[in-house]
């Protein structure tokens, strides 16, 4: 892939939009209008941007509790997302799911699930369906470093490898499951080993380098589309804010301020920003324009969410 094939500005825009959306969620959370858990991806934006930009129409994305950035990068509707967080009838699940069940058929967001790793076999099933229907689409599942500890990850990867399904497993390794470090949960070995053991091509790249993420996933998708089977991609990154909720929590003792600062210095957005400046693809004027555009979208989306009606429980149907 040549330098030109990487949509630098699009990737930057995606990351910037995610960042500004989530910081605004964080800022407004105290208002008590978003009455549901929120798992923010601030600091991790390169992965969702890089992965989702590489996806095509018809591809399906499957996600976890930490789904906002995935959804937005996948072309999700900010209004419907915020409305869902506000518990409104206009939300992407009509208020039924909250932040941990983001789903949007139009956006190709097949589902996100709050039970760790539960979505992984579902993505494999989507890939099976694609293969059965010969659509040449790809299913992508993004999950955290804890998900590989659940047995179902292994059951799903084994089957994907056995049937050479068009599925790409993306692990966002942010070192923690809630407040528990990887070292308290797994032997100290690279996560790629686990895909490799199932005969799956398993690679890693810097998860804070959006271009690297984009290149690796593009290649994995092409391979899957061509019938070359599944890949596991591991991207190391770091979550800046607390596991769940709007604030910083380096003070509570499960990680150090130093560790945080090291990762903050690797801010994926700042890195890309400098690159774009150097390439002449961005300057202060155009950057201000992007920020303004995004902020306006955000303001409008919050207005939409706040003004939308709450759902009522009059017509529940549990059966299709």
């Amino acid at each position: 892939m040549s330098q030109d094939d990487v949509p630098q500005e699009g990737l930057f825009f995606d990351m910037l939009r995610n960042r500004r959306v989530e910081l605004e969620i964080s800022r407004r959370y105290e208002d008590g209008e978003m009455r549901c858990p929120v798992h923010l991806s601030v600091g991790q934006e390169a992965i969702s941007a890089g992965v989702c930009r590489a996806m095509k129409v018809g591809d399906q994305l499957v996600s976890t509790h930490r789904a906002h950035a995935h959804y937005l990068s996948k072309g999700g509707d900010l209004k419907r997302m915020l409305a869902e967080f506000h518990g409104k009838a206009t939300g992407c699940c009509g208020g039924r799911g909250g932040s941990m069940h983001i789903f949007d058929r139009d956006a190709g967001m097949l589902l996100s699930l709050p039970i760790v790793a539960s979505s992984i076999p579902v993505a494999v099933g989507a890939a099976l369906a694609m293969k059965q229907a010969q659509t040449h689409s790809v299913a992508v599942v993004i999950f955290g470093d804890a998900a590989v500890e659940e047995g179902v990850f292994h059951e799903a990867t084994n089957f994907a490898a056995l049937k050479q399904l068009p599925v790409v497993f993306v692990c966002e390794n942010n070192l923690f499951s809630v407040y528990t470090h990887l070292n308290d949960r797994q032997p100290d070995l690279p996560l790629q080993r686990l895909g490799a053991a199932h005969g799956i091509r398993s690679l890693t790249a810097d998860g804070n380098d959006v271009e690297a993420v984009y290149r690796l996933t593009t290649e994995a998708f092409e391979r899957a589309r061509a019938g070359g089977g599944p890949s596991l991609l591991v991207f190391d990154t770091y979550r800046w804010l607390e596991h769940c909720g709007p604030g910083y929590d380096n003070d509570i003792g499960y990680r150090t301020e130093e560790e945080f600062q090291v990762w903050k210095a690797r801010d994926p957005i700042e890195r890309t920003r400098q690159k774009l400046f150097a390439l002449g693809l961005l300057d202060e004027g155009s950057e201000a324009g992007l920020n303004a555009q995004i902020d306006q979208e955000i303001a409008e989306a919050f207005d939409f969410a706040l003004e939308s009606p709450l759902p009522t429980s009059s017509e529940f149907q549990i059966y299709a």
Partner: protein, 355 residues
Amino acid sequence: MISAAEAIREATEQCLSADDRVYMMGQGVADPKGVFGTTLGLAQRFGSERVFETPVAENGMTGVAIGSALMGRRPIMVHQRVDFAMLALEQLLNNGAKMHFVTNGEHKVPLVVRLIIGRGWGQGPEHSQVLETVFASAPGLKVIMPSTPYDAKGMLIAAVEDDNPVIILEHRWLHAVIGHVPQEMYRAPLSGQNRMRVGDDVTIVASSFAVLEAMEAADLMAECGVQADLFDLRAVRPLDLTAIFESVRRTGRLIVVDTGWKMFGLGAEIVAQVTEQGFQHLRAPPIRLGLPDYPTPSSRGLVGAFYPSSQGVVEAVGRLSPEWIPRLRPAIDTIQTRRAKLPVDAPNPAFRGPF
């Protein structure tokens, strides 16, 4: 006249023929035994893309089935025992049952899961569970327990065509039952009961294999002049008991015969609903029969006391109306004579295991 096992095979074959989104997977579906004969020949006819073996990974494979169903495929999964699906309950009770609701009605999960209830030949506590209330506890699942060859076929076809996840609890000892099964591709409804016998004296509601016990009891009691209104429950969720409320209004007496555990069993919900709806019509407290409060023992010395029997049903009727007890004596005698000739741990004397 074919067996329920053949009826299931025929239904599956017709579903696979009729709709190429239908596929079938599970441990043993393509092997030489074909899940007690219920899938024989299907892999040969439809090929390994449509009918295939899976790894031994119930939870993951259930997730795979659900994911494919969300994309419009119509999977039929099979587990050779209900017990194995215990590993897949997170997938079934969350992703299967709740997906339609949580996506505001957008997603559908047209999934069928056949779970076979084991019994006898010493297979013991972890190969003979029923767990019907575990599945029935989840809003969003459909749960059925066909007992006749007619329903075995018709309900399976309806389940495959239904847009919801349907759990079929299929009793191994019913596979051999012979009955009238139309050749064409017909549907039997996924809710409501079958009335197996009409009577005004006592309402009996039985499910799955217990239907056979209740039928034997009802037939013999009829000869003694006690007429049971006998229902095959068929469908556990959704649970529409309208016909039973009507029956109890007439009979004033209710017996529920479960195939699974009595405690926290189907009978509890049925008795509770009948009491709520038709309290004033009850002449005596309803009686629940079901498995006693311990795991299935393996030994043939222990299973006799474990499973509810037709004799137990007759005795329960006697408890409801003690004045009938003398009249019911011949029924009990006949049952005892018949049973003495039958193995306690096998569906018939020819059965020589191993399963």
